[in-house]
Each structure stands twice: as structure tokens, then as C-alpha cells.
Symmetry: C2
Subunit: 334 residues, 2 copies
């Protein structure tokens, strides 16, 4: 590939002038600028970002670590981030933590070597520690918070979302409402659980720990948890289930089907996070929808404002929206 020296030679100027013509056009005479441009054009010149980064000591690179790009929610986050970064001329280095702190640590190290200028991360339980190693780096935590007090965060109002879901269910007359909660060392897990309990309380319903099962975030966990919850005899079985994330909801729905439970006649289900799957399953699923793409966009914007020195750490919180479809209805009467 041709370099700026080739361009300079072809345009009959020094490399300094060529460089200026390309990146600070106003500092160069009209005629020379045109010559340089033309030469660059002819040679198909593309600046070497390695060299530029090395010299300028900034890489125009942001790091992004999501849990798993195969999860549509995370894919949406990633696209929101990446589209926004691209508009600003930044490149995004994407990694999956697969919810494993060690993978996250490796990703962070790789990113360090690339002199990332900022990091957007969907934290795992290890994030807070890992970030201590890079105290000067602008960081935005996305979707979840690690507990690091000085990090910027962009999340959804999980407590309200979960409360709305629960209130919807109590409003329909349910009194035995189960929940499948996510990991309690992840903020969304605890917040949604808190919202559920708050919703119960608002409705004057007693909290019954027997109605709650926890899982990691995977479909399997949701399946197993639902099976346990729904295996009880009819009189004790919950008449409604609130599931803490999208993957586990799939498992729960499948479990209900296996048990021959009709939705919503025998069992109402509300999931957290919308998806195509939720929209097209039958019956269409009532969900707490999250503005996933916007979450990514906001995180990236927040990061850039940190990068440009404008504004300090902030905590952005976006609203959720309860979308009532057909997986919820009044409880069966005994």
C-alpha cells in the first residue's frame, strides 16, 4: 500500500505538506492542496492508522464488551454503539464476555494493548476489579452496573419495569405470582427482583419465597426453574410467572407447554425484554420492552462526552414499556 511519502513525491511536496493538505486543508494553499488530493486519489492512499495512532497517541478506538452477541438484546446494544461510534469516525472493538469474568479480563487486556480511548461494557461480576487496573480510562457501563461509583452508566429502569409487570398481573387478579430471577450478583437481577417484591407489596400481597426460583441467564435455567415452580399441585401452583430475562423466558414457556399448561388460561407469563420471538410465539408474549438500540446509542454518546472532556460521569436511565399482548389474562378460578 502506498504511504504519504508516495503521495508527497507524486504531488511534489514534502510529507509535512501532504499530511497537512489531507488533514488540515485550511493550512495549505489551494493549488498544492488540489495536487495532493489528486495524488492521494490516484494512489488510492489510505492513511496508516497504526502510524497515526502512534504519533498522535490516540487510537480512535473504543472497546465494547457485551455478554453475548448471539443474544438479540446484546446484538442490538452492539449495533447501537457501533453505529454511533462509526458516525464519529471511531472504530469499535467488540468482544463477548459470555458472562465469564476471565474472558472479560482477557478482552480488557487485549483492548489495553490497542490503546482504546474508552470502554463500554455490559459488566460481569468481575468488572469492578478489572477496571481498577485502568483508572484513567473513560468507562460507560451498559445495561447493568458494576457498583463502581465513578463509572458512567446507561441502564433501563429495571425496578419500575418489574413493578409494572407485577402490577399488571395483580391487576388481573393473580395472587400467586411466581418469579424466575436472574443472578443476584448482577444489578439487573437484583433490581428486577426488587421491582417484583415492590409490586407485590403495592398490591397488598405477601411475598412467598417458595414462588421464586433463581437461575443464571440461560434458557436451560429458565426451563428448570419453571418446571420446579409449576410442578406443584394445582392449588399451590402459581397462576402467573414473571421471568427476569429473555433467554430464561424461552425456557419457561417451553416448560409450560411440556406440562400441558395453556397460556394464558392456566398460566400467565410476562417476560423481560422484547424480541421477535416474543412477538411471534403463540400466544404473543406480554413483555417489559427495553429500548436496546437506544441504550447502545446513549452509552456511546455518553462515552464521547467523557472523551471530549465535556461533562462528568453520569447515570442515564431509560424507561421500559410494558407491552401487553396475549400471554397474560385473569387467573383460572378453582
Amino acid at each position: 500500500m502506498s504511504n504519504i511519502q508516495d503521495v508527497a513525491a507524486l504531488a511534489q511536496v514534502s510529507t509535512a505538506t501532504a499530511s497537512r493538505a489531507l488533514s488540515r486543508p485550511e493550512m495549505v494553499a489551494d493549488g498544492t492542496r488540489k495536487r495532493v488530493m489528486k495524488a492521494a486519489q490516484q494512489l488510492g492512499y489510505q492513511p496508516n492508522v497504526m502510524a497515526r495512532s502512534l504519533r498522535q497517541r490516540e487510537s480512535r478506538t473504543v472497546g465494547l464488551i457485551v455478554a453475548d452477541i448471539l443474544n438479540p438484546f446484546h446484538a442490538l446494544l452492539a449495533k447501537g454503539v457501533q453505529d454511533t461510534a462509526e458516525q464519529q469516525g471511531y472504530v469499535t472493538l467488540l468482544f463477548n464476555s459470555d458472562e465469564q469474568p476471565e474472558k472479560e479480563a482477557r478482552a480488557i487486556n487485549t483492548l489495553r494493548g490497542h490503546l482504546l480511548q474508552g470502554l463500554i461494557v455490559v459488566p460481569t461480576s468481575g468488572t469492578r476489579d478489572h477496571l481498577k487496573a485502568l483508572p484513567k480510562l473513560p468507562v460507560v457501563e451498559l445495561d447493568r452496573v458494576s457498583g463502581n461509583p465513578q463509572a458512567s452508566t446507561v441502564t433501563v429502569d429495571n425496578v419500575s419495569g418489574a413493578r409494572a409487570a407485577t402490577a399488571h398481573l395483580t391487576g388481573l387478579g393473580h395472587t400467586r405470582i411466581g418469579m424466575i430471577v436472574g443472578q443476584q450478583n448482577i444489578s439487573t437481577g437484583v433490581d428486577r427482583y426488587a421491582g417484583y417484591r415492590a409490586g407485590l407489596e403495592s398490591a397488598g400481597l405477601a411475598y412467598d419465597p417458595a414462588l421464586v426460583r433463581s437461575g443464571h441467564h440461560r434458557e436451560d435455567d429458565g426451563h428448570r426453574a419453571a418446571l420446579e415452580l409449576l410442578a406443584s399441585p394445582d392449588v399451590q401452583r402459581p397462576t402467573a410467572l414473571f421471568v427476569g430475562n429473555n433467554e430464561m423466558t424461552v425456557g419457561a414457556v417451553l416448560a409450560a407447554r411440556e406440562l400441558g399448561l395453556r397460556i394464558p388460561e392456566d398460566l400467565s407469563i410476562v417476560g423481560f425484554d422484547d424480541s421477535r420471538w416474543a412477538q411471534t410465539m403463540s400466544p404473543p408474549l406480554t413483555v417489559v420492552a427495553q429500548p436496546a438500540y437506544e441504550l447502545g446509542v446513549h452509552a456511546c454518546e455518553q462515552l464521547f462526552s467523557l472523551l471530549h472532556g465535556a461533562g462528568r460521569a453520569a447515570r442515564v436511565q431509560l424507561p421500559t414499556e410494558l407491552i401487553i399482548r396475549h400471554s397474560t389474562g385473569p387467573p383460572p378460578d378453582f
Copy 2:
């Protein structure tokens, strides 16, 4: 961040020795190696990849351009590629073309600046042209082929897959089988269409252009196309539909539902590409499944063998698998 000079100083050696101790341990005395290691450890030293790439003139970076990370098939491709690249110590720069040749061209240019060592691309209609600008670059085309004769390709046997789908339908007794085909300037679109026609022919069925609609790849297109195809009066309406990709299949199923057609009693549907959605919709969808993750892995392996000079351009083709679920059955009798 500390650099190799800091490490060298702390370990009381020259930078050359420090560098060797870190990347060619065998060239250095045991004692010094340990001192350097320890110093690096203490300082949390992470080599600056910009500087290293600049010097070595290789970036350990591969480019990956998929159509859209939001499409689960493409997310799976991406993860296969990225996991494999990571194992080899390469970083993946991921871009979405969103099926737009111009976006692809931009991505390629950005990648050029990053001195990518190889490119894996799910081609758009413009790829062949765009690649002419970088004749020396190892390229693997993934999922689709651009027509560039010297590119390596990793694809699925689309013709056989489509033929199997069609044969399944004819085997059930269908004689009026419609198809919603993808863009005919994309290889998967033409191959699946060819497979459909071959399947018809094997069964001794006449090809009827009135039973075919084309669309881009989007859900909307599938929806519109299915509406057109299914709006015909009962006697003419196809009794089965083969849809050329996952997104359009969603649209087609939704259209069938809107028209009150029962699946599979009134209409059988086969989709191309499996997905969670296909598995959990009701009835579960019969599909031509593709080994998406493996496709990504193979593409990356292929690229590395190109990179290491081993082997020339190759054309890897993986098999598809027809998964018969419950969206297909015998045609209704009139």
C-alpha cells in the same frame, strides 16, 4: 501506560533485551528473563500493538463484514469467526454492510487503514468491484459468493438444501408449491431458486412462474410476497411455500396467519435457516438448517491457511440438514 522502556529500566536491561525476553524467551538468559518478566508484571505492562504492528508490518487483525449482526444467522457466523481468530491471537474488526454496497465499501476502506491481514466477507452485490482495489489481500467469502474466481469461499450447499426442501413437499403430495426467492444478484438467492426448480423437475412437476415472488431479504418482503401468493382463490393458491431465508419466513408465516390459513392444514411452509424462532413458533417450523457457527469457524481457518501461505484458494461447502417439524403436511384435498 508504561512502555517497554520502563520495563527495561526497571529490569536494568536494554529495551532490546526486554523485548526479546517478552516475545522470544529462549533467546535470553534465565535470570534476566525472570527480572524482565517481573518488571513487566509489576508495571502491568501491555505491549502497544500500534507500535508493534507498525514495526512488524503486520497487524494481527482480520476484517469481518457481515450483512447484519441483528440477524441471528449472521451473529452466529460472526461468533464462529471471532472465536477462531481469538484463539490464534488475532483481533477481529467487525462491520455490518446492511446489504448496502456503499457501506461495505466504507468498511473496506476503514479496514485498509488498519492494515488488516485478511478479510472475511459476506458479499453484497458490490463486493467483487470493491475487492479489485486490494488484489494482494487474502479474502474468504462467507455464506455467499461474489463471483470473483480467485476468492476462497465457505458456503453451504444451497442447491441441495433447496432441492431437499422441495422434495419433502412434493413427497407429501403437494403439486402447487410456491417459492419466495431472495435477491437474484446474490448467490444464495439464485442457488436456492435453482434447487427449487430442480426439485420440481425431479418430481415431474411443471414450473409455474406465477407461483414465485421475489423479495429482498427482509421480513417485509416476505410478508408482501406471501400475501400476493396466498391471495389467489383457493383453487389456484399454492398449498405449500418454500421461503428463501429466515427473515422473509417470519413475514410469510405472519401473512398466513393474517389470512386465517392454518399451518400445515391449509398451507405447508418450509424456511431456509433454522433459528430459535423457528423452533418455538407454533407449529414448529420445518427448515433447511445451516451450520452457521461452523461456517464462521471454517471461514476463519481457511483465512489463516491462506495467511500462512499454506494452501491456495479453496471452496469449502458444508451440508445443510432438512429438519422436519410440524409446519409441513399433506396438501388439503379440494
